[in-house]
Amino acid sequence: MSPLDDLKTAIKSRLGELDCVIGWEQGYDQLHATPLFIRSEADLDRLVIGPLAVHNLATYLPGLRGKKVGIIVKGCDSRSVIQLLNENLITRDDLVVFGLCCSGVVSHRKIRAALPVDPGFVEAVDLSTDTLSITASGQTTILHMADIAADKCQICQYPNALIADVLVGSPQESKVLTTLACQEEFEAKSEAEKFAFWQETMSRCIRCYACRNACPMCVCRDFCISTSRDPLWLGQENTPGENMMFQLIHVSHLTGRCTECGECERACPVDIPLLLLRRYMNKQVQDVFEHRAGTALEQTPPLLTFKVEEEGIKERGW
């Protein structure tokens, strides 16, 4: 039996006790998946998994608080689930986790860049282990998975769901690489270069808040301080400064909480590389507190606690 069949069997056996199970189905064409809310066995037929099922479905969980929900998670998504549990934002008893052993997902941005023209509507997709062939406007292009894998998958340390009531598929190994070349390259730039980069990049931002809405850890929803009057943190001018301020509010609120699922960057319509900020912040958290969000249950986020003597913080002398 394929992992998909295993998964369907497992969901079928639990569906009766659940309000719904969140998974993926094919979207408007074969290349794009979209979230699926499984309420009946009939819905189950539409379930898909695999490299095209890119969404981190944990984003839906805080909104479904109070309901009994099942969720299908990849390794990276499972970290978000753990982090939400650790922050008391969802309830373990109301949750059934169907974990996947994931071999990576695609980056639609990379696919788009690799195709000669924007395909618009994709007519057919053929997936193999190493390749993805896309047919659009009668023309077929074969892409290598290595070229179009999402950044996060290239350095994935947690391919298998870290929390699961049911785990399907055969466990995958974590990647050898732990840092991305582009990240290192950017961090090595001078402060002036980085400043200019963000100034320019933020002038593209249209403040659509897609990054926020896609983020599984952004649980404030309608009460985000970026769009409130009391407190009034952010002006409405669409200037690079205010846009950057918004991003810094987002990163600040993710300190020690971000699970690096990359949904923010995936959702950005103007291709702002938001993960540059998050990966850097996560590295600092790791260095100082030896903390990686969502990798273990019962972890306290580092900013919600303290030590009288901080080994990781060197007091600067004056």
């Binding site: 934002l89 009460f223 301080i225 409130s228 009391d230 407190p231 943190w233 919600l304 606690t305």
Partner: protein, 660 residues
Amino acid sequence: MRIGVFICHCGSNIAGTVDCPKVAAKALTYPDVVFSTDTMYACSEPGQDGIIAAVKEQQLDGVVVASCTPRMHEQTFRRAVERAGLNRYMFEMANIREHVSWIGKIMEDNTIKAQELVRMAVEKLRRNRPLIPKRFETVKRVLVIGGGVAGIQAALDCADGGQEVVLIEREQSIGGKMAKLDKTFPTVDCSSCVLGPKMVDIAQHPKITLYACAEVESVGGYVGNFHITIRRKATYVDWNVCNGCGLCLEKCPSHKHPDPFNENLCTAPSINIPFPQAIPKKAAINPQSCLKLTQGKCGICATVCPLKCIDYEQKDELVDVDVGAVIVATGYDLFDWHKYPQYGQGRYPDIITSMQYERLLSASGPTGGQIKRPSDGKEPKNIVFIQCVGSRDRSVDRPYCSGFCCMYTAKQAILTKDHLPDSQSFVFYMDIRSPGKLYDEFTRRAMEEYGAHYVRGRVSMIYPQDDKLLVRGADTLAGTQVEVQADLVVLAVGAEAAAGAAQLGEKLRVCPDQYGFFVESHPKLKPVETNTAGVYLAGACQGPKDIPASVSQGSAAAAKVLGLLSKKELESDPAVARVNQPRCVGCGKCIQTCPFGAIKEVADRFGNPKAEVIDTVCQGCGICTVTCPQGAIQLEHFTDNQILAEVQALCPPKIFANYE
């Protein structure tokens, strides 16, 4: 909103380096400011009257005063605006004295800085709202920590004032350092005759509960409602029964342990009452030396005790007590002179501390009041006193003056002559500090009538020569080196912060200064208050003090406590955290981080979890406000919007308008 701004000259303190009229004129251009003026002394009666008049005439609903630090006069002005009919929180202060006029030299820069600080205060005030304090009842009981003379005085004054008092003392008896002294300066009256009756009063006062051998285990709560846990250390004697007959002391076969009450000049039995006038007069077993407790044999005291009150199985006991106020009177320790290797580090028995010398002088001491040197029991002839041992000395990290050593050394020189008319005292000193009433006359008497030879200089080394101690010092007035063949050397050791003060301070949230003494709220105006409401200081725990000063402070602290508890109810500071419930997602992060347990989880009417602040418990630190990502819990008077307004006032956004 109608705001009035008052720029204080503070005489020339501010006006000397700040153009006050210019600052006042500028303030009129700020939003909502309808009235602005400069004034000579804003805090004076005419100054306050001026503010009140302006509020009424101009129908102001907020006031900014730019003057000194709010730590000085914020309360003064809040009361003034309240008299004018405004809520006291509709007031802001700009600190243009300590933070401007006193630290900057250039008038132009200072003036601009003052203008910006006023602007900041105006922007903050525009976002203030009236706050109403909650009222709460207080526990009519006082905890006094430390049973030295300061604590005794504080406890008696509080009890006489009608409040219940719990007095706790770490040692077996109250009395502190004073109980060990022979005589006191400048009257040379008997220390135990002065202190003894007060100690008895403590034991007999119906309103005082005394716990000796006890320490503070933990502190919770806040002014008016502290929850204290006291650890009563095991004494292995049932003090409810023991009547202090002393039979056990006589029969105890293990009496080789140094006697701390006698400064280790002699030994004491393992079950002991430290001194005849001890309060409480109860025996206690030293678990380090008792044969029964260390080796499991003996048990003689249990056999001889007529009241059968020995209990080798006794354990520490925790006692909970609720009090409305706390007086800290934990005193001081004597400097450990072994830090001076040139004084022999204990190799020479005839070099002793001034406190050991007190015990030699005392009729109840180990020599029955005869001055005999420890090495051979001979009466000394030449006695050298060395002052400033552990005082005014950077090399041992004690740069401060201990204040009382000059006086007690003069007293000891006088007593020496009284005891041994043929003796000669030499006093090495750097400066004589005797500013108290009749103090300088006293030191003069030591020199003039009692013939003490005062030598201005330090002593560099002491070493034995035959059966004498060769003391080599300097006489800087003669400009030369001097030597004395001494029979006994007395080191006038200085005072240092008591061991354990730091830990107690942490529990009570009272800060230590750089030397470990507790910091008072204001060095002049609030000498016995601390920064923690309801906690007061008395005696040498705040800094070295002699007996009269310690007693005065004990009374002063008691007066403060009586004032506090005379009110039926106290008002809580309304600048506490407040939850905007719709915004709250019920994650509980604020509950997790609050150091005071002031936030609880409640359910809204749909059953969703929400945070709620307990007003009287909240101390107003604002940790929760920063913790909450959606800004749902805001610290009143320091809300995000108020602080952001201050930031914006200081850093006005530089936006080039790219839109029409």
